[in-house]
């Protein structure tokens, strides 16, 4: 069973099979509209497939929200090299726990989405890169893949059509940076997960320097429903230019945390009150991180907002990976900012100096403030250091660390100043409790 009760406000398209007994099995999948989308797509040309995805308005669910149909259209299909489909199941943006459910409860939906991407790319090989901590998902996925081979949905002659398509899982080994597409490809090739300089983008030179489509798990998982419903119909589920539904991971100080599938553009306050059951203990809302730890925080008064890519961009934040972290009035923003920076400093791969040094120094300064040794100029220093990291790295990990920090300092400056004026009792460090990196 999924880990939280469904909510009546949900529109369950990707998660519609969650909760059906044995939903992982190919028989249950086939009995519930499974592989019909593939049959439809198999009759189309690659361009027609790409056009359906374009019409759906689907935008990447891994964080950046790039239009998926457009990404697929960039693939260098005429290249003589093999084409690859890579699935990003590295899910490690703090606050995000949705891909896990999509694999755990409906692995065949993911396989079907990958197959359709394979048809669009005229590819013969896909790989699912799964974070190492998700070992049990690798087992589930391998079992589903074996079933799909047995029934002829994968193999040298898919469903007798003559199309060859193979699929395999690939384990990561613990590294947030390996969720970044180019670092993922390095890691996949058996190297340290450091980013590649772009261009060329994966569509031209991805896995093994060959044309590659690389998307998030949820992005691929959305594809079968798009082909069952039709692109335009699927688009209408969401708000304009933000097609479909999305898996929102509600966490933090709410009564009913959980992963809920809601239409794009769903109002954030309704998500907190109606879906999440309101703030725990009747407390007041203080702030929300709307899309995973890299997204700038929204203050309570900014939370009357529709949850889609464009509305959040207009509010100078991001929808990111769908991790909605709700914080009540008792939350210590300095502690939150420090914990998030500890994460980025730990996960920076060290390749680019602004990111490696920037996250390290920010962590040290924030720790100094938190421990009660901050000086008055530290608040501005945190903001300035962060701004100096923006756009100066090969991959966006540096930005991901800087953007939320800038927002914390701008929107909750008084809390940092209160620590510096020692109005808050300094925390006592305990040598046993320190991360090795602190």
């Amino acid at each position: 069973m999924p880990y939280n009760e469904p909510n009546p406000a949900e529109v369950r398209v990707l998660s519609k099979r969650f909760g059906i007994p044995n939903s992982q099995s190919i028989d249950v999948y086939l009995a519930n509209e499974g592989y019909q989308a593939y049959e439809r797509a198999a009759k189309m040309t690659p361009d027609e497939i790409v056009n359906v995805v374009k019409a759906s308005g689907l935008r990447g669910r891994g964080g950046a929200g790039f239009p998926t149909g457009m990404k697929w259209s960039f693939l260098a299909r005429n290249s003589p090299k093999p084409k690859y489909i890579i699935v990003n199941a590295d899910e490690s943006e703090p606050g995000t726990c949705k891909d896990r459910l999509l694999v755990e409860f409906d692995p065949h939906q993911l396989i079907e989405g990958i197959m359709i991407a394979g048809l669009a790319a005229t590819s013969n090989q896909g790989y699912i890169y799964i974070r190492g901590e998700y070992r049990y998902l690798i087992d589930i996925m391998n079992k589903a893949i074996a079933e799909a081979y047995d029934r002829g949905y994968l193999g040298d002659n898919v469903r007798g059509t003559g199309w060859k398509f193979h699929l395999a899982t690939h384990t990561g080994a613990g590294a947030y940076e390996c969720g970044e597409e180019s670092a993922l490809l390095e890691s996949f090739e058996g190297k340290r997960g450091i980013p590649r300089i772009r261009p060329p983008f994966p569509a031209v030179a991805g896995a093994y320097q060959s044309p590659t489509i690389l998307n998030n798990v949820e992005t691929y998982a959305a594809v079968p429903s798009i082909f069952r419903m039709g692109g335009e119909e699927w688009a209408k589920l969401g708000s304009p230019k933000n097609g479909g539904t999305r898996m929102f991971c509600l966490s933090g100080h709410v009564n009913r945390p959980g992963v809920y599938e809601l239409p794009m553009g769903f109002p954030l306050m309704r998500m907190i009150e109606e879906v999440g059951g309101g703030i725990r203990g009747g407390k007041k809302l203080k702030a929300v991180i709307p899309g995973g730890s890299s997204c700038p925080v929204l203050k309570a008064e900014e939370c009357n907002i529709n949850m889609d890519f464009d509305s959040l961009a207009a509010a100078k934040s991001m929808l990111g990976s769908g991790g909605v972290v709700v914080m009540d009035e008792t939350t210590d923003i300095v502690a939150v900012a420090l914990r998030i920076m500890r994460f980025y400093a730990h996960e920076s791969c060290g390749w680019c100096i602004p990111c490696r040094e920037g996250t390290t120094w920010l962590r040290k300064i924030l720790l100094r403030i938190y421990e009660g040794h901050g000086v008055a100029s530290d608040v501005d220093l945190v903001g300035e250091l962060s701004k100096n990291m923006l756009g100066r790295t090969f991959c966006p990990l540096g930005d991901a660390a800087a953007m939320p920090t800038i927002a914390f300092v701008e929107k909750f400056r008084h809390e940092f100043e209160a620590y510096i004026q020692k109005q808050v009792p300094a925390a006592q460090p305990d040598p046993l409790l320190q991360l090795a990196s602190v």
Partner: protein, 160 residues
């Protein structure tokens, strides 16, 4: 160096899944699965992986030192990983971490004297909506309370 027949079969299948001239892709999976069997990434394992994938032991070492799940020292029989990242922190993850260090008298990436338990403070493990979360080896535990953690540690053989 030989592995169990199951692991040998797994490795053989792995190599068949990558293009023949891309054996290096198997480096990380092979290290992960072999580490599970042997207990840590030993010198011997590094050399074996290098031999089988056709790269130098140094190139394998470069990989080993990058990834947080690959470790050269053996962990405890039960490796208790406590998430203190944002969603877990808001739900008592930090307190669970403190509780575990106090009870076991060990810190981050340390092993109890009897080798039964090791501890690690970890980053987000994809259980944020069911926080606070703990992983023991590869098993997830959700919405862990202080009492539940105490019982878990007792069951894993922690001294009182």
């Amino acid at each position: 160096m030989t592995f169990s027949p199951e692991l040998e079969a797994k490795i053989e299948r792995m190599f068949s899944q990558y293009p023949p001239d891309r054996r290096r892709s198997a480096v990380i999976p092979m290290l992960m699965y072999a580490q599970d069997e042997i207990g840590s990434v030993t010198r011997e394992l590094v050399e074996e992986v290098a031999r089988r994938t056709g790269i130098t032991p140094l190139a394998v070492d470069e990989v080993v030192t990058y990834y947080s799940m690959l470790h050269r020292m053996p962990l405890g029989k039960s490796h208790v990983q406590i998430c203190t990242n944002i969603s877990c922190m808001l739900n008592g993850g930090t307190e669970l971490w403190e509780q575990a260090t106090r009870r076991l008298g060990i810190g981050h990436k340390e092993v109890s004297a009897d080798g039964k338990i090791s501890l690690e403070e970890v980053e987000c493990m994809g259980a944020c909506s069911w926080a606070p979360a703990i992983q023991v080896n590869y098993d997830f535990y959700h919405q862990v309370t202080p009492q539940k953690l105490d019982e878990m540690l007792t069951q894993l053989g922690a001294a009182r």
